[in-house]
């Protein structure tokens, strides 16, 4: 039994290692026609090194990261603020809900053609897309989190002399945090998926632009490097919010 316990930490790594080994072997055996159409893992690793060493990957990654951070933070903050207003005040919810419901189903990338005309093809375009991508889901999660707070907690706080503002900040918002974090966690990863697509549209820098450049140069290895960066960043952002949520709520959940 103890042998299995010792193995346990490695269990997460093992499937990945097997996958990479199979990838390397299948590519080397040229099972898929055209070696560069399906480069081995080692080739991708080498290309990752070259792109990092010559600064290309770093430069494009920073461009994407900046856009994601600005767009995501702005969208999330706006979503939390508006969501709080809607969740706390029934009148505001009734007023804004029909309008929000109209816009919410539109996928973030669906806004692209319109924004290309309104915003233009510049830095603001991907940032605006990320803003939209983050705003609505975080808003909805905030509204849900606040409205799901047991009314007895609010009543209890009232009987203990707390004002509405204090109840909102010291009782309702903390109890709504799990829901809010769910929204943040999901959208943090989604922001990266969306930025790649937005950057593919005539934006000269960023991971998405690098992928498009690689596609027109038929550099599959670079495309795969970009996809790996995308996957890692999605995971990293999601894990970050998971960690934050844990720090803030694990004690009492």
């Amino acid at each position: 039994m103890s042998k299995f316990r010792k193995l346990r930490p490695g269990w997460g790594v093992l499937p990945v290692a097997i996958f990479l080994a199979v990838w390397e072997i299948v590519a080397r055996l040229n099972v898929v026609p055209g070696q560069f159409f399906f480069p081995p893992f080692s080739t991708v690793v080498m290309e990752f090194y070259y792109l990092t060493a010559n600064g290309v990957l770093g430069e494009n990654f920073l461009s994407s990261l900046t856009r994601v951070l600005i767009g995501f933070c702005a969208g999330s903050i706006a979503g939390i603020v508006v969501g709080t207003v809607m969740g706390w005040r029934d009148g505001m919810n009734k007023t804004l809900h029909p309008i929000i419901s109209l816009f919410y189903p539109i996928p973030a990338l669906g806004w692209l053609p319109l924004l290309m005309l309104w915003v233009g093809i510049n830095e603001m375009l991907p940032i605006t897309i990320i803003f939209i991508c983050s705003f609505f889901p975080v808003l909805y999660n905030t509204v849900t989190g606040i409205r799901n707070v047991d009314k007895d907690y609010i009543r209890a706080a009232r009987t203990l002399g707390a004002s509405d503002a204090r109840i909102l900040t010291t009782v309702v918002m903390p109890l709504a945090l799990p829901n809010i974090f769910t929204g943040l966690r999901l959208q943090a990863g989604m922001a990266w998926r969306v930025i790649i697509a937005a950057e593919m549209v005539a934006i000269p820098t960023g991971i998405g632009a690098l992928m498009m450049k690689a596609e027109s140069l038929i550099r599959i290895d670079i495309i795969i490097v970009c996809l790996i960066v995308l996957a890692v960043m999605c995971l990293a952002f999601e894990k970050f919010f998971e960690y934050l949520e844990d720090r803030m709520t694990a004690k009492w959940r």
Partner: protein, 352 residues
């Protein structure tokens, strides 16, 4: 501590309801679900809008919001803030009043000592037992030294032993602090243990407000009588002590042994389910055993009700359906009855 007066209160099921809670009294609101008990205490607390007036010591408080009425409230599910530890929960009201930190800490410590939960101060509600949560909730409700304490079936989710223990504690705290208290329950036994007076509520209407023994022995109407379990209440013609904590009382020609040793007994009462019926003579000592004739059998949803004539006295007994089905009981049949000694309640002269 103030008295509480409710005048012409209308909200949901309550229509033009009037009620008075005396200064320092523990009044129990007793009634079935949907009677309006929780609605009433929410109205006192200012947690819901209503028509009518609420007075604390003849001063109207209708315009005061809940956070200004100085009321302590213990919710049915306690509503301890899950994200705050025990100390922070108790301190919440004090912090809301922006009291200095030292005062807050001192008061919190005092309450932790009083409730004997000092060892729990850093724990979170999710790590507390039911009884521990109750104490924390009570400490929190008392933190601001409220003038009025409202408790909404606070012990309903606890096991019998813990509930019994906490009832005693609650009563002690209430008496010690002398807080005017309104306690909501649907349990008659709990009401009898806790109350200075009981207000029986049915469909938003106060049917009777009296001391517990008066409610039990002198139900004002059928509704109250049915709610408390429709006990057999017998007047006593005589009583004599037999020593060893028992007395013999005479009720309509029936000599009944009751568990009492004190003043003379005016009435006794026992519930229908505390009468044991047998078709044959049961073995055992001849204590509280009588012969009677079945005069009526009625099937209710929860049990079979059997009306009996014992001497000149009419008694109502009760038997579960599955047990009745195994018998040959029928109207006109002669049967044997046993009255369970320990289940007989006694009403002394002085109680009235």
């Amino acid at each position: 501590m103030p008295s509480i007066t409710l005048k012409n209160i209308s909200k949901y099921v309550c229509q033009d309801l009037n009620l008075e809670v005396l200064d320092k009294e523990l009044l129990v609101l007793l009634g079935p679900n949907g009677a309006g008990k929780t609605t009433l205490i929410n109205i006192v607390a200012g947690l819901t809008d209503y028509r009518g007036s609420v007075f604390f010591d003849d001063v109207p408080v209708d315009k005061l919001p809940a956070n200004k009425r100085g009321v302590g409230y213990l919710f049915q599910d306690l509503a301890l803030f899950p994200h705050l530890n025990v100390a922070a929960n108790i301190a919440y009201g004090l912090m809301s009043q922006e009291q200095p930190r030292e005062r807050v800490d001192a008061r919190v410590n005092e309450l932790l000592q009083m409730m004997k939960i000092k060892h729990l101060s850093t724990r979170y509600p999710k790590d507390l037992s039911g009884g521990e949560k109750q104490r924390v909730a009570l400490a929190r409700a008392l933190a601001l030294s409220p003038k009025v304490l409202l408790l909404d079936e606070p012990l309903s989710s606890l096991d019998v032993q813990t509930a019994k223990y906490l009832r005693t504690e609650l009563r002690q705290v209430q008496r010690k602090l002398g807080i005017t208290t309104v306690y909501v329950t649907h349990d008659l036994q709990e009401a009898e243990e806790m109350a200075d007076r009981i207000a029986v509520l049915q469909n938003g209407h106060v049917e009777q407000t009296s001391r517990p023994e008066q409610v039990f022995f002198y139900p004002q109407n059928e509704k109250v009588r049915d709610f408390i379990g429709a006990p057999n209440i017998l007047d006593c013609d005589y009583c004599r002590s037999l020593g060893k904590g028992v007395m013999e009382v005479g009720c309509g020609g029936l000599p009944i042994i009751v568990p009492h040793d004190g003043n003379s007994v005016q009435k006794i009462a026992f519930f229908p389910h505390d009468i044991y019926i047998s078709e044959t003579k049961p073995p055992g000592p001849e204590v509280n055993r009588f012969k009677g004739t079945i005069i009526n059998i009625t099937s209710a949803h929860d049990a079979v009700r059997i009306s009996l004539k014992v001497g000149s006295t009419c008694l109502l007994a009760e038997m579960p359906h599955h047990m009745f089905g195994d018998t040959n009981l029928a109207v006109g049949k002669e049967v044997f009855l046993i009255l369970k000694l320990r289940r007989i309640r006694v009403c002394e002269n002085k109680d009235l």
